[in-house]
């Protein structure tokens, strides 16, 4: 049964991701299954089998192999899509850097899931943020609609000759991947107008024009030049994103920025978040505003290239800023807190109180009460003009469960053989 196009329908974040690939007319889907992304490649496998998508689907033997096949195919001249999560992203890590170094554009969807050990299936952002230096660009989505739209924007940006870098679209496992909400499927011919055919000038292998790609570079000067070119290409993606987003808004009516400002107009304290829990952050802002507190939310969307200007414009002059990292770098704290703080430091009117909160690790829920506490602590820090954190959002009740579990796990086994 073919889907009616251009109308909204209920779909999970995973299916929305599959639709992104389908609408982008991808040629090749090298795949390897891993919870919570598997539904994406299952959907694509069906569409390829039934001819709904004119693409070749191949199961590889690992994410390391999958990413190599993906990069090699895109280097040969076809548009490639794949998806992974958590341990899979880490297993492909070596190859992420190679694909970016080959200046090969493709879109990889990462469905965020916390990293082992201990192994878990629940979402947090340590996996995708670990890849922030790989050369892949990164767009993090809050809604299932944004997943689909960001994949189309992703190809447009990645394949622009001013960029030519691969791109990760990230969505939270479970909270988006298995959550259904209304998603509008853009008109395919409109998409083809938005997304030109993939014809990279520096790539391709053919008999009449042999080339060597991924060659060894043994002199430091040459290596510095090539790596710096990647950096400049990534920086270009800021402007290219704005151009693409403007045209996307014109064609499909949905506008996306490098960041999203929610009720920041007169906010003195700003909560900074990314991905799907930003929705909960917006609700918390509404609740606080209802009590007369001037607060707002800044949602980080384009993580690489890092939108320094947009972050500083949104946060300068505020009394206090609270960054809620759903990740934890052991021995340091929240990763995005470091990046926000670094961006703000040169601004003369930077907020005096930078507050670091760590929440939602391993998919842990962040309750309204925890948001209340966060805003209260942030307000106090703002008054005292004193930065605080990293503070773990982990309640007394959470800890009572923990104590109980530790007790059970440590009851010595009676050794009298019964």
């Amino acid at each position: 049964m073919t889907q009616p196009l251009g109308t909204a329908e209920m779909m999970t974040g995973n299916v929305a991701a599959a639709w992104g690939a389908r609408l982008a007319d991808v040629d090749y889907v090298p795949a390897f299954p891993i919870t919570p992304q598997t539904e994406i490649i299952e959907t694509l496998a069906d569409w390829c089998d039934r001819g709904d998508l004119d693409a070749r689907f191949v199961t590889l033997d690992s994410e390391h192999s999958m990413m190599t096949a993906a990069g090699a195919a895109a280097a040969t001249g076809v548009r490639v899509f794949s998806a992974t999560s958590s341990q899979g992203l880490l297993y492909a890590f070596e190859v992420l850097y190679s694909v970016a170094g080959w200046r090969v554009p493709l879109v990889l969807v990462n469905v965020s899931r916390a990293l082992a050990a201990p192994i878990t299936l629940e979402a947090d952002h340590n996996d995708v943020l670990a890849a922030r230096d790989s050369g892949f660009l990164q767009i993090h989505a809050e809604t299932c609609q944004e997943v689909l739209d960001s994949i189309l924007l992703g190809y447009r940006i990645a394949e622009d000759s001013r960029v030519m870098l691969p791109l990760i679209v990230n969505l939270d496992g479970f909270y988006l991947s298995f959550t259904r909400e209304p998603v509008t499927i853009p008109e395919p011919d409109q998409v083809r107008r938005f997304l030109p055919a993939y014809r990279p000038e520096h790539l391709g292998f053919k008999a009449s024009a042999p080339q060597a790609l991924g060659v060894a570079v043994l002199r430091g000067g040459e290596y510095s030049y090539f790596r710096h070119q990647m950096h400049l290409g990534a920086l270009n993606a800021l402007a290219v994103h704005q151009e693409a987003a403007a045209e996307y808004a014109r064609l499909f009516g949905r506008r996306y920025g490098l960041v999203e400002c929610y009720r920041l107009e007169d906010a003195e304290d700003v909560l900074v978040m990314s991905n799907s829990f930003a929705t909960k952050g917006k609700a918390a802002v509404d609740a606080a505003r209802a009590q007369g507190r001037r607060v707002g939310l800044l949602r980080l969307r384009v993580i690489r290239p890092w939108p320094t200007g947009a972050v500083v414009d949104a946060l300068r002059g505020r009394r206090a800023v609270a960054v809620l990292d759903q990740n934890l770098a052991p021995g340091l704290g929240g990763i995005l807190f470091q990046e926000v703080s670094a961006s703000l430091y040169p601004a003369a009117d930077r907020p005096r109180a930078l507050c670091s909160f760590i929440g939602g690790l391993g998919g842990k829920n962040i309750s309204e009460g925890e948001f209340e506490t966060l805003f209260a602590e942030t307000a106090k820090a703002g008054k005292l003009e004193k930065s605080i954190g990293p503070i773990l959002l982990y309640t007394e009740e959470d800890h009572r469960h923990m104590e109980e579990a530790i007790r059970i796990a440590n009851v010595p086994v009676k050794t009298d053989g019964n």
Binding site: P30, V58, D61, T68, A73, A74, A216
Partner: protein
């Protein structure tokens, strides 16, 4: 008896060079010797998908010695890279975005380090997927590019920089060389062959025969290594000949798993082969290690008994 149909006389070997001089590989490299001969049969409509190893230094910016194309991927997943290239070429041709005459043979180029160890999984998967590609392994029986360390291909009794002869390990390497031919053959690919540059017509014939098959065509090339095995490059011919004549490097082929030995050696004693190489000197100096020498000879004898030759 195995008959050559295409390459019967030495002068039939193509005169064109598809790997130009000017590479940075060691003088007297047995691996390059075999690759150059293979390239003559494979032609220039090729792409080498390379795994980390000595030959990664064939293409060093801004130079390439290859008439064909090249993609270095990683040490562990070149076969997956080959899958990507092959699929992309097929898709481009099917969708009319690449004319047929632009097609390329996809050739994985890896040393024994990647082939026997790190890339085992990706190779097995590529064979399992019936990928239409060549796999060319230059086997110099150690991790050569990093200075000759023990690999899955290092023969019993060989000294490497991580398996020296010591009081606790007088024989040096105590692991047996993996039988990668049999590991591959267990997948029943259409074509597998072992080759040696010292038998150029045997080598060329096997590449000609392999071209008839769609799917995996896997080659194990003896790569006598002056640097790694400890002998003067000029002795490469004698070392490489004896590797075959002693039966330590059998020349054979397997079509859909059916094995045929393409050359039956007179089976000279292994000692003459071992004695030429620095990596086996500890078996003779300061004292002869009779048990180790006997073990190596018996292993070879047992192999040929099973073969019935």
């Amino acid at each position: 008896m195995w008959q050559r149909e295409t390459y019967k006389k030495i002068k039939q070997l193509p005169r064109e060079e598809y790997i130009t001089p000017g590479t940075s590989l060691c003088a007297g490299c047995g691996g390059l010797e075999a690759l150059r001969l293979a390239a003559k049969v494979l032609g220039e409509k090729v792409i080498f998908v390379n795994a980390a190893g000595c030959m990664t230094l064939l293409a060093v910016y801004p130079f390439t010695p290859l008439a064909g194309s090249w993609l270095y991927t990683t040490m562990g997943s070149a076969p997956a890279g080959a899958q990507g290239v092959r699929d992309a070429l097929d898709i481009l041709m099917k969708k009319g975005r690449l004319p047929r005459h632009e097609d390329l043979k996809v050739i994985v180029l890896g040393g024994d380090g990647s082939t026997y160890d790190m890339a085992l999984s990706s190779t097995s998967a590529a064979i399992h997927r019936r990928l239409d590609f060549y796999y060319y392994c230059y086997d110099n029986e150690a991790y050569g590019n990093t200075g000759v360390q023990l690999s899955g291909a290092t023969p019993f009794g060989a000294s490497t920089s991580t398996s020296h002869a010591t009081p606790s390990h007088p024989a040096a390497a105590i692991s047996e060389k993996k039988d990668i031919f049999e590991i591959w053959r267990a997948h029943r690919p259409p074509y597998i062959a072992t080759i040696s540059p010292r038998h150029p017509l045997d080598l060329a014939e096997k590449f000609a025969r392999a071209a008839r098959y769609d799917g995996p065509k896997l080659f194990l090339a003896l790569a006598a290594c002056p640097t790694g095995w400890g002998y003067d490059p000029a002795v490469t011919p004698e070392v490489a000949k004896l590797a075959v004549e002693t039966g330590m490097w059998p020349l054979k082929e397997a079509i859909n798993g059916e094995v045929t030995h393409t050359y039956i050696p007179k089976r000279r004693p292994v000692e003459g082969y071992l004695r030429l190489q620095g990596r086996f000197r500890h078996l003779f100096e300061p004292t002869r290690q009779e048990d180790v020498l006997r073990h190596i000879q018996q292993t070879v004898d047992a192999y040929w008994e099973r073969v019935g030759a």
